[in-house]
Amino acid sequence: MRLLVVEDEIKTGDYLQQGLTEAGFMVTLARNGLDGHHLAMTETFDLLVLDVMLPDVDGWRIVQSIREAGRQTPVLFLTARDSIDDRVKGLELGADDYLVKPFAFAELLARVRTLLRRSSVPVMTDQMRVADLILDLPRHRAMRAGRKINLSHKEFCLLELLVRRQGEVLPRSLIASQVWDMNFDSDTNVIDVAIRRLRAKIDDDFETKLIHTVRGMGYKLELDDEHE
């Protein structure tokens, strides 16, 4: 997966490049709008991450140009909080998503993966499996080691999200947004409680733990335990 990151702030650019590279993407970093514009128009990427505020050619211009050129490459905008109108303008111009600075890297990673998944053909399956955990999607049923596990509707949705994106760290805000459609920074520890209750049903009685807390970032579902 090839990503183009256009970011003029040196440190942010470096860390975005490093983080995304380490997450398994091929990252091209442009440090100004002109280079970014040129690269976006001449090469093929799977996703663009654009800072709106660029000194020369701003993010909007780049989106406009590639959309006019008929390219459907997904675009993720990075905007400053003090210009909320940017998000409207960005989305109108054809951006697919936006993140407000300061943002958590885990959040960015999760959004990038969501966008890349959106642009690829979704895999329709009836069943998902991680180790001995089996999800029966049409019937909203979960089984582990052959034992049926009783889950509420939202608990099943939460588990489904974790399984679908296994191996990814999912920030609390993304979980709240995807499972409950709550698109704001919440003061509450609702997600932690929900995960704890899900864990009690999925993991507590079993030797192999599937759900892991990634401190300061979020949660992930994974077979082998790397963190903690």
């Binding site: 709550m182 920074d185 509450t188 609702v190």
Partner: protein, 477 residues
């Protein structure tokens, strides 16, 4: 500062003076006119009497001497003796002068005016001859078989001279009286404004550090009491905002200091000597948590700053509040169940126009507060209602310890905490309720809190204007 470029309102003194000058001027002119015409009328009446007496005397003389011309002359020459400045002529029917000075000298020819039957003020004639002004009457009389026309006239120059002098004095008096009245008015107005100048002096002394100064409403005239009260109220609000702002800066510093101290201390301690990978990782995790907290606080503060500058722009859509509340109940289900708290929705309301994400955020803050402060096993209630004025009311209620009354007025302030010792636990930076308020206000609504009899209730009132009556959710009661 527009007024400097455009029309500057007239000064109060100018206004009062203009009105007074107009009123005084008009009434003095009226009085002057009346006095003048009264005097003129009086003279005219006097002249009429005199002329009548003369005419009668002439008439009498004519009747006594109805027998011949020779005695007529004699009789007529004595007829008006004792009168000064008077003249008369007697004419016969064929308009021949029988007696009196010739027409060329001072009397007008009979033919110019018609004779009158009775002498009155308003049928006297005035004319000028030889540089003098005369007033006179013309009458007809029948003596035997003769018909005479009598012309009697008075030299009125003396009267006119008197009137001229009289008018001059009248003007002088009027101008003098007007000027004195205006000066007195000006002085009165100036004196009347003295309390205003006093107030202005007191106000000038009020600086940022002296906002506690209040004006004394009893020390000013009744007309200014309302102004003083309003001013005091304004200063009160300013003082309040100022105090809040001062606290706010102190609070920000305090809120930022704690996580920063944690980060700096921890990092310095860990870097103090060489450590294992696990310890370094632990440091980063810990720092990350503090930094996330800082980032969230900065985001919340920027949100509030935007709301203060009116930059929160709701994306309006039609929202069924009951449906939204149920969605939030779904979200808080796990948290509530952990504390064995029941979430209940009562009542219904028509749809309102609002920003879905913002309103969810506001209600989420209220619900999480309610769940946090509700004792285990109790219930948290959301009530939907419609006021008599058609406003949609939403209240979030929880039982449990009451919020002391002295905290209620400030509970929506940024960083305000009812219990200062409970900072930095699960409840964030104390910005939650401030954010709720900012969202409600962006929806042109109002929010209120009450806490008594073991029940705390936050009530949001959405103004009628936000209600979209077209699409109702559930029937109205």
């Amino acid at each position: 500062m527009n007024s400097r470029l455009g029309k500057h309102p007239l000064s109060l003194t100018t206004r009062v003076m203009t009105f007074v000058a107009l009123a005084i001027g008009l009434s003095l002119l009226g009085i002057g006119y009346l006095v003048n015409s009264a005097v003129e009328h009086h003279f005219a009446e006097q002249d009429a009497d005199e002329l009548e007496v003369m005419t009668r005397a002439v008439d009498r003389a004519l009747r006594k001497t109805s027998d011949g011309y020779s005695r007529l002359d004699e009789a007529l020459s004595h007829a008006v003796s004792g009168h000064h400045g008077v003249y008369f002529q007697v004419w016969d029917k064929e308009q021949r002068l029988i007696y009196g000075p010739s027409t060329d000298d001072y009397l007008t020819p009979v033919g110019s005016f018609a004779p009158v039957s009775r002498i009155q003020v308003n049928n006297q004639y005035q004319w000028q001859a030889e540089g003098k002004t005369y007033r006179g009457v013309i009458t007809q009389t029948q003596v035997g078989c003769f018909e005479y026309i009598i012309v009697a006239a008075i030299d009125m120059d003396a009267h006119l001279q008197f009137l001229k002098n009289f008018r001059r004095s009248l003007w002088l008096i009027m101008i003098l009286a007007g000027t004195v009245t205006l000066l007195a008015t000006w002085y009165g107005v100036h004196q009347g404004h003295a309390p205003l100048r006093g107030l202005s002096g007191t106000m000038r002394e009020i600086q940022a550090d002296r906002l506690h100064v209040r004006l004394e409403p009893d020390g000013v005239p009744r007309e200014l009491q309302q102004l003083v009260t309003s001013f005091n109220d304004m200063i009160g609000r300013l003082e309040d905002s100022f105090v809040r702002l001062t606290h706010f800066s102190a609070d920000i510093a305090h809120e930022l200091r704690t996580p920063l101290t944690n980060i700096i201390t921890q990092t310095q301690v860990v870097l103090g000597k060489s450590r294992g990978l696990v310890e370094y990782r632990e440091l980063h995790y810990s720092n990350l948590e503090e930094l996330e907290r800082l980032a969230k606080m900065v985001n919340d503060m920027l949100w509030l700053a935007q709301s203060e500058h009116g930059l929160l722009k709701p994306v309006w859509e039609s929202l069924g509040m009951a449906q939204e509340v149920r969605k939030l109940f779904d979200f808080f289900e796990a948290l509530a169940e952990e504390k064995h708290i029941q979430l209940m929705l009562e009542g219904q309301a028509p749809k309102i126009k609002g920003d879905r994400a913002m309103l969810r955020r506001a209600m989420s803050n209220l619900l999480s507060n309610a769940i946090r402060h509700s004792p285990e096993g109790e219930s948290v209630k959301v009530r939907l209602d419609v006021s008599d004025e058609g406003q949609v009311l939403l209240s979030v209620q929880n039982t449990g310890p009451e919020i002391p009354a002295e905290h209620l007025p400030r509970i929506f302030d940024r960083f305000y905490r009812v219990d200062p010792s409970r900072q930095r636990q699960s409840e964030g930076a104390g910005l939650g309720l401030a954010i709720v308020k900012s969202i409600v206000e962006a929806h042109y609504g109002s929010i209120d809190v009450s806490s008594d009899y073991g029940m705390t209730s936050f009530s949001i009132c959405f103004p009628q204007a936000a209600i979209n009556w077209d699409c109702e959710e559930g029937a109205l009661p």
